[in-house]
Symmetry: D2
Subunit: 358 residues, 4 copies
Amino acid sequence: MSYNTFGHLFRVTTWGESHGPAIGCVIDGCPPRIALDAADIQPWLDRRRPGQSQFTTQRQEADQVEILSGVFEGQTTGTPISLLIHNTDQRSRDYGDIATRYRPGHADVAYDMKYGIRDYRGGGRSSARETAMRVAAGAVARRVLGDGVRIRGALVQVGPHAINRDRLDWDLAATNALFCPDAEMLPVWEEYLAGIRKKGSSIGAVIEVVAEGVPAGLGAPVYGKLDSDLAMAMMSINAVKGVEIGEGFAAASLTGEENADPMRMEDGSLRFGSNHAGGVLGGISTGQPVVVRFAVKPTSSILTPVPSVTREGENVDVMTKGRHDPCVGIRAVPVGEAMMACVLADHLLRHRGQVGSL
Amino acid sequence: MSYNTFGHLFRVTTWGESHGPAIGCVIDGCPPRIALDAADIQPWLDRRRPGQSQFTTQRQEADQVEILSGVFEGQTTGTPISLLIHNTDQRSRDYGDIATRYRPGHADVAYDMKYGIRDYRGGGRSSARETAMRVAAGAVARRVLGDGVRIRGALVQVGPHAINRDRLDWDLAATNALFCPDAEMLPVWEEYLAGIRKKGSSIGAVIEVVAEGVPAGLGAPVYGKLDSDLAMAMMSINAVKGVEIGEGFAAASLTGEENADPMRMEDGSLRFGSNHAGGVLGGISTGQPVVVRFAVKPTSSILTPVPSVTREGENVDVMTKGRHDPCVGIRAVPVGEAMMACVLADHLLRHRGQVGSL
Amino acid sequence: MSYNTFGHLFRVTTWGESHGPAIGCVIDGCPPRIALDAADIQPWLDRRRPGQSQFTTQRQEADQVEILSGVFEGQTTGTPISLLIHNTDQRSRDYGDIATRYRPGHADVAYDMKYGIRDYRGGGRSSARETAMRVAAGAVARRVLGDGVRIRGALVQVGPHAINRDRLDWDLAATNALFCPDAEMLPVWEEYLAGIRKKGSSIGAVIEVVAEGVPAGLGAPVYGKLDSDLAMAMMSINAVKGVEIGEGFAAASLTGEENADPMRMEDGSLRFGSNHAGGVLGGISTGQPVVVRFAVKPTSSILTPVPSVTREGENVDVMTKGRHDPCVGIRAVPVGEAMMACVLADHLLRHRGQVGSL
Amino acid sequence: MSYNTFGHLFRVTTWGESHGPAIGCVIDGCPPRIALDAADIQPWLDRRRPGQSQFTTQRQEADQVEILSGVFEGQTTGTPISLLIHNTDQRSRDYGDIATRYRPGHADVAYDMKYGIRDYRGGGRSSARETAMRVAAGAVARRVLGDGVRIRGALVQVGPHAINRDRLDWDLAATNALFCPDAEMLPVWEEYLAGIRKKGSSIGAVIEVVAEGVPAGLGAPVYGKLDSDLAMAMMSINAVKGVEIGEGFAAASLTGEENADPMRMEDGSLRFGSNHAGGVLGGISTGQPVVVRFAVKPTSSILTPVPSVTREGENVDVMTKGRHDPCVGIRAVPVGEAMMACVLADHLLRHRGQVGSL
């Protein structure tokens, strides 16, 4: 990953600011002769689209994706695939405050420190709007992976409320706007988030993404490990502060006996008795489900004033008015799935390059 | 990062197997005219070297580093720096078991799945021995960063025993073999680890690495974020299962008000009132200390037999005899520091390239 | 360079097919706070635009460039710059022949061999239309280089007719549609090319690009040499078959005495007595003008039938009807200049990254 | 390529100075399970070794290569292959002159301009000694390509004396120290070079490298073209000033009719009637022989004094005493072959990664 590109053989470059004319991405290195049209991508974008519940930003964007290159007569050609979404909800309004007063916890001040300039409209490049293109690229990556690989995500914790894993139900997660996989937890979250929203507050969350059917052998020691690339990919999502694989931080409290994943031959195939490892050993996939979790901080856009400074170096108190997300972790679910898909597709091609057929 | 190279402008390529004739690395892109000789690198290697306490592997390696290129008359020349350490402790012995019986939780089976071949002697390429070269490269990276940047690491949790942060004492961490920064916790860990060792068991740990004096502006949105590169770097260390920045996973339980880092001008300079962010906003350093923690799993080398299989597909039970680490997290402390140094040095050069002087 | 991206710190990714809805590029890594708007780019595109004389293709494209991101209030922000040109001259027509009959000397057959599919409309991705985005990126690169670096190109040979270097006049080259720098040669070429065009034939050419004011120190041994990157850049232009630096192939016939560039101090500065080296020693710029020449083959689109085959493996004879360039080398002049600008801008940033201020 | 690494999937990083303790390279990304030991590499190094005739430098180096990693029980393991050659001929001597007086036409002054420091002993990093590691890497690349690909090089011009292509005899080129493929030209060159050597002069040359059996489909438009990567690779060799593919610069004088390569089906396979293209169309191999030529300048080490300057800025005249090559182009033949092998191996893996089996 470098600046605005990630991936090595399946390479995605994204561009665009929140309130510019459009956002887009270029996918380079996609294998040829894969069936693809805009209708394959649009449903994934629709899942991520804001404004679908009261708990995400009310910004309304149609987010209609266009394919500008790389697809001919319904198939990829092996040349770069350019995807573009026009920004339709660029309300003309006064950005005076955001231009001069740094919002605490936002990238505003950091961009100015680095570049000495920033497009402050709607957060510019640092806006979560960029993640729409990750989702679009992820839709293409899923096509590269094929139907044998199933990638699913869910919210597993909202503030202090974690799901009960015994009730984990992926089908449920796919059908509610909170991506909640626990039927009993869903109403708890809804009530909790309603309270957060009413107060103009915000709250963090934890997302889990699981990929099943991943072939063994993906990942390359020692600096192209599958799990280190996943860590990078998830940490690059806006507001993410932690990433873990398998047992993750819980492994720190386990003994070797507790953390062991026994192996046995069953019907001529290798089977693991558990998956503490999260599907990766030595940076290489083992054929077990690849399990990643990441933590999202509470958005810093809150109604409570927080001490801050202006560009000119004066002390001010800043509060965020207008539409905002009480829990940005919700919309991070489809983004995390997309990053998983992109990383796996890249590693699939890289493995095939070095080692040959899978 | 790609295969065995990490970094973009400050690029490190490592090579070598645990029981081959030598291990080494090539550091490319180092700025010229930096004072450097082997004596600048050796102390950092000595800190990582095993056999310094009863809680790390008893393998004895002098780990004497040689500089083979890139340094002339005591200064870097801007050309690649080749570092090499001869493997002196390659006891000739029978590797029969390890060659044919997969150790559960090790990379053995994954390497065979990927490559169809592996150097099984001492774990080959997947051995933690590779991390010696990270430490060597980190010593050079520290020189690039200069004295203004201070990087320190400590063990902050061993199994169920986390330090009390009110007692956190960096000076203490620098002077005990467990890198423990909490005087009251040190004897607790020693006793606990003695018990683990006696049982032939192992235990996980959490390491914290903090970099102070990091200039604001390092990191490049959106796929070259400082924190995503740190996540990748730490996750690439052997046995690491989780990485977090600042509040990390704890941020999931916080509200926006609790997680806010207020800003104020003080004596003409921007000051933050807290550092929940861990020194990074929008992927860019803010001048605050950069705070990273990572979780290390218990080593899978334990005396308790675990069900496994052979290369030929027969069920066996595998236990690990001989020298091993009861807690691999201990030696991960200098490795984590080194990866922090390498990532920061790379981003320093990348920032200077795009934006000019800091 | 990799697939559709070139450059390391100043990175350009192009996309688009000749007859798709648009072509475009993403420029990543551009320094911030550089004044830029579409009017800075458009004049360079206009120079390359076909249809300006009878000797280039009669395709008419307005080639109006739009900036979709990375520029705010007239300045670059350091985030990716997305440029787009809509394809307006996509005549609806029958592509039947080109779809099934390989044009000899075109990329048609090679794309099919590689990908098993190709967008045959107007040559698809292999069309010289892609070079418009190189010119656009080059315009931005010129801004990065600043006014101190002057890059000029000219046609120096058309078929058997080479210019007389004693008459080389850069101002003249800038003012005629053939980029001819030799007043006496200009009418010769015009008459010669008129004959070629009338016969439905085509002819090769040699282009020279010279960059003056290039700072000493650009280029990185041994695989990031300035001249090897220039060779790659020029050879990547459609139809280019040879690249040379300074004396180039003529150096094969020279003795060490003849090829020597003497050095002398003059007024406290190093001066070279000649420039056989073409401004590069050991892969690094010396402050002398950087001189590159490249040879362009005759376009394979000619009226004379040439034996070929169909996709289905039948023998046919193929001739090219309709608009075409009698000498594609003409339009390669601004493209060569653009590639020079991009390579120099990239190396400027890379040098600044590793070594610091110039 | 970047600094001291070239290739994308088959990546080679070289290091070392002419008079340091050793030179070496790391080959990353090599496929596993390829039979390899030092004896596979040594013969290629022996071909390049100096001191084999009176026309190359009399430096005597055994150039014994050691494999330090990446090979186990005679097979590659997929992990990095570290190769090392000790420098045995580092005569202790006075380097005073070369340290302070810039040799005209050498990289001396450019390295100082860039880095402000250089290892002047024997040319340091800029010495042709570095090319030994290219040859070593090329030997591994040949193994990756397999026996189906045959790569051969020859000297085709020495000063004013070009071979007669009607007499081109590859077998002959393989058996004489000048790599001369023309029996009648061999004595002419010998006599001519003897004269050059006697005068303490030097002369340029042209090398041709041809790869037969290259699968169709290698190369990736538009910035990973096979020919642009070959141009970069060859231009990165010391003293190279020009590169051409197929007809190369001669194509500038040809008409479309003359340059056309007709195609026909023969026995169910596509056959080309000629190979003006040099085996590459649109940047992609077509299955025809890949033909590259490159020009090498005369070495600047000559006995005739040339005006120069010192590090301190005083005018001096510099002549080169001691051993030197009258024609560095001779030893460039095995180096050019090696670069061809490395580029092809890299593209083979890249193609397999994106498109699958060949």
